[in-house]
C-alpha cells in the first residue's frame, strides 16, 4: 500500500514539475534564484560591493581588449564614469563600452524609435509610431549626416565608439529589459549615433504647427488677441540682456508675411491630430544664463543650465568625464552619442536651451495622379517605396514611404503635406559638439558652432579668461514666394512656387552657402561678452532681422522674466553672484504666471459660491510660490489647468479643436474682461472674465476635493515609469515643488522638467540628474540622485577623475603607434 502511495505521490509531483516546466519554463528561466537571466545584471551592478572590491584587489580591474589602445574607466560614488585614454579612439571605444554597460536598452530603444522598428520588439501598440518614423525616413537623414562626418576626427570618434558598444554587446550579458522581453539588440552602427542626434533635433525643432495655424485661421480668421505675432512682454533674451555687444546691430524690421495669407488657410485638423503626437512637445524648454565676472566674487563668469526635457527612466542624459591628450571634458551626453553635449572643458563651459525657431515648413502639391505632383511647372513622380514593419506576436504591416523634392509626404483624411524639416538633410552638429569638447577658449566655441546646423539652440558660454557669449545655433532658411522673402507659419502651395528654400536637399547634401539660402552666420543674433543674459525659451529679440518664428513657437515669458528679475536684483545689490545663489535661482518656485491670474481670481469672488469663495480667499495671502505645503499653490495650479478650457471650450470644441489648439496663458491673461472669448456661446447671458474664472476656480476646488489633495505636494508628484512595464523598473513617486512656468521646472502631467541641472562658476561646478546614472535596476546608481534632484541638492562635477579603476582597456599597440 505504501509503495502505491509513494508512486502516486511521485507521479503527482512529476506532473506538477512537468507542468511548471512546460507552462512556466520561460518565467522560471527568467527568474529562478541564482541563475535566472533576469538576475544576471545584479552580479555586476555595484562597483563598490564587497565582491567587486575583492575581485579588483585579487585580480585587478576587469580587462577588456581594445583595438585602439589603453584606457581606464573609473566610476565615482555616483556611478559617473571617468574615462582616461592614451588617444582619442581608445577613449571613445571605452566610452561606447561604458555607455552600453550602463544604458544599452535605452540606446536600443532610441534607434528603434527613429528607424521605425519598435513593433518588432513591442508588438502592435507601437505600429503607429513606426509608421510615422518610416514615412519620415529619419534613417535616411542620418545616412546623409554620416556622409558629412565620415573621415573626420568626429567620424573616427563615432566609429571607435561604435566598436566599443559592439564589444559590449558581443561579450557581456544583456541588460534585464532584453531578457525580460526576450529579444537581442542588433549591432550598433555609426548612423545609430547620428539617429540619436536626429531624435533630439526633431524633438526640439520638428513640428506640425503650421497645420494648426492654418486650421485656426480657417475657423476663426485673424485672432491676434489669442495668437499674436509676439507676446506682449519685455523679457526677450537679447533685448533685456545687459553689457557686451549685440550683433547684428542694424537688424531689419520683421517682414510682415501674415498679410495676404488668407489663401494659405485650410482645415488641416485631421492631419494635425494624426501627427501632432510626434511633434515637439509643447512646453519642452529649458533655462540657461550667463553672468560675467564683473558680478561674481572671484571674477570668474558663471554659466547655469537646466534643460527641460522628458523625465524618463533612466534619465535622458548620461553624465561622463572624458580625458585624453588635448581634451578634458565633463558634462552630459545623450546615451548613444560619444560626446559631452552640455558641460565644460578645463577652460570653457557651455549650456543650451531651445530657441523654438521655425525649422519645419509644410507644402501642398497639385496631384494630377496618385503617382505624380506638380512642382515648378513640371510634373514629377512621387518617389515611392513600400516597407514592411515587423510586428511581434502579430502579422507584419506594410507602410508606403513617399517622398517629394520638398521631403516626405504625410497624409490623413484626404489631406496631404510634404515635410521640409531642416534636419532631414546631411547636418553636421556631431562635428560641432565634438569640437566643443576640445574648446580652449570662446573662439574655439565660435568656430565649433558654425557647423551646429540643427536644432536651433540658445548657446551661452564662458571661458577661463572671463569671456562670455550668447549665440543662436542652427541654420535659418529664407523662404521665397515670387522672389520675395516671406514668413512660414502656414503650409505653402509648392505647385505655385510658394515658400521656396534655396540649397536644401532632403536626404542629400545641402549647400549651406547657397546664395540667399540661409541667414549668414554673422547675421544670426548673438551677443559678445554680455554681463547678464538669460534664456528660457522666450522670444529671442523683438527684431531678429529675419523670420525666426511667431509667438506660438516661443515660451510664455514667465521663467525668463523671473530669472532676469533675480539676476538684475542681485547685480544691483552689493552681493556678488555666486554658485550658491545660482543654484538657488535654479530652484526658484515663484510663479509669475500666477501673478497674471490671481488678482483676477480674487476679483471674481463675487461670482463664486460661499464655500468656493472661502478657498479663493486663501490666494489673497498666498506668496505665489509653488511649494509642496501650500494650499494656495494647489488651487492655483488646478485653476490654471481649467481656465483655458473654461474660456474657449464653447468656441473650440464644436469646431473639433481640442486643447492642443489653445493659446498661451499669457494671451488669456491679456484678454479684456469683456472679451467675446469669455462669453459662453451656449448661453443667452453674456459672460465675462469673472464668470469664467469663477467657474474654473470652482472646478479646481471640486477636483482637489475629489482627489483628496490638501496641498500642492499631494498633486505635484513626479511619477516616472520605465518604458518597459515592470513595476520594479519604475522610480518611486516623488513630490516636488515648482511647476510648468517656474524656473524650477516640472510638468507632472507630461512628465517633463529639469532633466539636468548644472552650474559652473570658476573652479566650482555642480550638477544633478532626475534619477541616476545607471540603467541597471540593481545598481545603487539607478535612482540615487532622484531625492537630491527633487529637493534641490547637487553634486560637484569637477574635471578630475575620481573613484577606483573598474575597467582597464588593453591592447591596440599598433594603433597607439600610429
Amino acid at each position: 500500500m505504501d509503495a502505491l502511495r509513494s508512486l502516486a505521490v511521485s507521479l503527482v509531483a512529476l506532473a506538477l514539475l512537468v507542468s511548471a516546466a512546460v507552462g512556466g519554463g520561460g518565467v522560471l528561466s527568467l527568474a529562478a534564484p541564482g541563475s535566472g537571466s533576469a538576475w544576471t545584471a545584479a552580479y555586476d551592478a555595484n562597483d563598490r560591493s564587497l565582491g567587486a572590491q575583492a575581485e579588483r584587489a585579487v585580480a585587478g580591474p576587469k580587462t577588456v581588449e581594445s583595438p585602439y589602445g589603453q584606457a581606464t574607466v573609473r566610476y565615482d560614488e555616483r556611478g559617473v564614469p571617468h574615462v582616461e585614454a592614451e588617444n582619442e579612439r581608445a577613449l571613445y571605444y571605452a566610452v561606447g563600452y561604458v555607455q552600453a554597460r550602463d544604458r544599452l536598452f535605452q540606446m536600443d530603444l532610441q534607434r528603434r524609435l527613429m528607424r521605425g522598428n519598435l513593433s518588432a520588439a513591442f508588438g502592435e501598440a507601437t505600429v503607429a509610431s513606426d509608421r510615422f518614423h518610416r514615412k519620415m525616413d529619419f534613417a535616411g537623414a542620418a545616412n546623409a549626416s554620416w556622409e558629412q562626418i565620415e573621415g573626420t576626427a568626429a567620424g573616427d570618434a563615432v566609429e571607435a565608439y561604435t566598436a566599443g558598444v559592439n564589444t559590449y554587446i558581443d561579450t557581456q550579458p544583456l541588460p534585464t529589459e532584453f531578457r525580460a522581453n526576450d529579444y537581442e539588440p542588433a549591432r550598433w552602427r555609426p548612423t545609430d549615433s547620428l539617429l540619436v542626434g536626429k531624435l533630439i533635433a526633431w524633438q526640439l525643432s520638428g513640428d506640425f504647427r503650421d497645420l494648426r495655424t492654418a486650421t485656426l485661421h480657417e475657423e476663426f480668421g485673424e485672432t491676434p488677441e489669442l495668437y499674436p505675432d509676439s507676446l506682449d512682454h519685455d523679457a526677450a533674451i537679447i533685448d533685456r540682456s545687459s553689457g557686451g555687444r549685440a550683433v547684428p546691430d542694424d537688424v531689419r524690421a520683421l517682414d510682415d508675411g501674415r498679410d495676404g495669407d488668407e489663401d494659405r488657410t485650410g482645415d488641416f485638423s485631421g492631419l494635425y491630430d494624426a501627427y501632432s503626437a510626434f511633434e515637439r512637445e509643447p512646453g519642452v524648454g529649458s533655462n540657461s544664463w550667463v553672468v560675467s565676472g564683473n558680478h561674481t566674487d572671484d571674477g570668474a563668469p558663471i554659466v547655469a543650465n537646466d534643460p527641460h526635457l522628458s523625465l524618463t527612466v533612466p534619465p535622458v542624459w548620461y553624465e561622463m568625464h572624458v580625458e585624453t591628450e588635448g581634451m578634458n571634458a565633463r558634462g552630459v551626453s545623450f546615451p548613444g552619442l560619444p560626446f559631452v553635449v552640455i558641460g565644460q572643458t578645463e577652460d570653457v563651459s557651455w549650456g543650451f536651451t531651445n530657441v523654438g525657431a521655425d525649422q519645419t515648413d509644410l507644402y501642398t502639391f497639385a496631384r494630377p495622379t496618385e503617382d505624380t505632383y506638380v512642382y515648378d511647372d513640371e510634373t514629377l513622380r512621387v518617389d515611392r517605396e513600400t516597407e514592411t514593419i515587423e510586428v511581434a506576436d502579430a502579422p507584419d504591416v506594410s507602410v508606403e514611404v513617399a517622398k517629394t523634392v520638398k521631403g516626405p509626404l504625410l497624409e490623413r483624411d484626404g489631406r496631404e503635406v510634404a515635410v521640409s524639416w531642416l534636419g532631414l538633410t546631411g547636418t553636421r552638429e556631431a562635428r560641432a559638439v565634438y569640437e566643443l569638447n576640445h574648446a580652449e577658449n570662446l573662439d574655439d566655441v565660435r568656430t565649433a558652432v558654425r557647423r551646429f546646423d540643427t536644432p536651433t539652440q540658445n548657446l551661452v558660454a564662458a571661458d577661463r579668461d572671463g569671456g562670455t557669449m550668447f549665440r543662436l545655433t542652427g541654420k535659418y532658411p529664407y523662404r521665397y514666394t515670387n522672389g520675395e522673402r516671406v514668413d512660414a507659419d502656414r503650409p505653402f502651395n509648392a505647385t505655385e512656387g510658394e515658400g521656396e528654400w534655396r540649397g536644401w536637399e532632403p536626404y542629400g547634401q545641402t549647400n549651406w552657402n547657397a546664395t540667399g539660402g540661409f541667414v549668414s552666420h554673422e547675421a544670426v543674433p548673438h551677443v559678445e561678452n554680455p554681463d547678464v543674459l538669460a534664456t528660457a525659451n522666450q522670444r529671442t529679440t523683438d527684431e531678429p532681422g529675419f523670420y525666426l518664428a511667431y509667438s506660438e513657437r516661443f515660451a510664455d515669458p514667465y521663467r525668463g522674466e523671473r530669472i532676469y528679475d533675480r539676476l538684475e536684483a542681485r547685480v544691483a545689490s552689493d552681493e556678488p553672484v555666486t554658485a550658491a545663489f545660482t543654484k538657488e535661482v535654479q530652484r526658484d518656485v515663484r510663479s509669475l504666471a500666477a501673478d497674471g491670474y490671481v488678482s483676477d481670481i480674487l476679483d471674481a469672488r463675487g461670482e463664486m459660491s460661499p464655500s468656493v469663495r472661502t478657498e479663493a480667499d486663501r490666494l489673497a495671502e498666498w506668496d505665489r510660490n509653488l511649494t509642496r505645503d501650500s494650499r494656495g499653490a494647489l488651487l492655483y495650479a488646478l485653476f490654471r489647468e481649467e481656465v483655458r478650457n473654461a474660456t474657449l471650450y464653447d468656441e473650440f470644441h464644436p469646431r473639433g479643436l481640442d486643447a492642443s489648439y489653445y493659446p498661451h496663458h499669457h494671451a488669456i491673461q491679456g484678454l479684456p474682461a469683456d472679451s467675446d472669448w469669455f462669453d459662453d456661446e451656449r448661453t443667452a447671458e453674456r459672460e465675462t472674465r469673472a464668470d469664467v474664472y469663477a467657474t474654473a476656480f470652482a472646478r479646481a476646488v471640486e477636483r482637489a476635493d475629489a482627489e483628496g489633495w490638501e496641498t500642492y505636494g499631494d498633486y505635484n508628484v513626479v511619477d516616472l515609469d520605465h518604458q518597459f512595464p515592470v513595476a520594479f523598473l519604475d522610480y518611486p513617486e516623488t513630490p516636488t515643488g515648482g511647476g510648468p512656468f517656474t524656473v524650477s521646472n516640472v510638468r507632472v502631467a507630461s512628465t517633463a522638467g529639469s532633466s539636468w541641472r548644472m552650474v559652473v562658476a570658476g573652479d566650482e561646478s555642480y550638477g544633478v540628474l532626475p534619477g541616476g546614472q545607471s540603467g541597471n535596476p540593481y545598481s545603487p546608481h539607478y535612482d540615487d540622485q532622484l531625492d537630491a534632484w527633487a529637493n534641490g541638492r547637487y553634486h560637484p562635477i569637477p574635471t578630475n577623475a575620481a573613484g577606483p579603476v573598474v575597467i582597464r582597456f588593453v591592447g591596440g599597440d599598433e594603433e597607439a603607434e600610429r
Partner: protein, 114 residues
Amino acid sequence: MSRLTPDALAAFRASDRADPALVVAFLLGLAATAVHPAGLALGGGLAGLFAPSLRRALVLGVWFGVAVLVAWALALVWYGSLVAVATAAPLVYVAVASGLAVPPLAALAVRGLV
C-alpha cells in the same frame, strides 16, 4: 519502499554513507543552481534519492530550496545588490516560489519512484 528501488540503493540509504551523500547532493545542487534553473530540480532530486523516506524527502527538498535562497542572498550581499533584487517584484516572487516549490517536488518525484 517502492518496488522499483534497487536493493543497493535501499542499503545505501540505511548506511552511514547516506548523510555525507546528502551533503554532496546539496553542494552539487547548489552549484548547478548557480548556472541553470534545472539545478533546483537536480538538487531536489538528489536529496530525494538519498532520503530515507518519502516524508524525509519532502523535508530535505524544502531545506535544499531554503539553502538555495540563502546562498543566493549571500551572493547578492557579496555583490551589493540584495536590496535591489529583493524589491524586484514580481520577479522576485517567482524566484522565492520556485526555490521553495521545485526542489521538494523533485525530491518527492524521485523518492516516490525509487
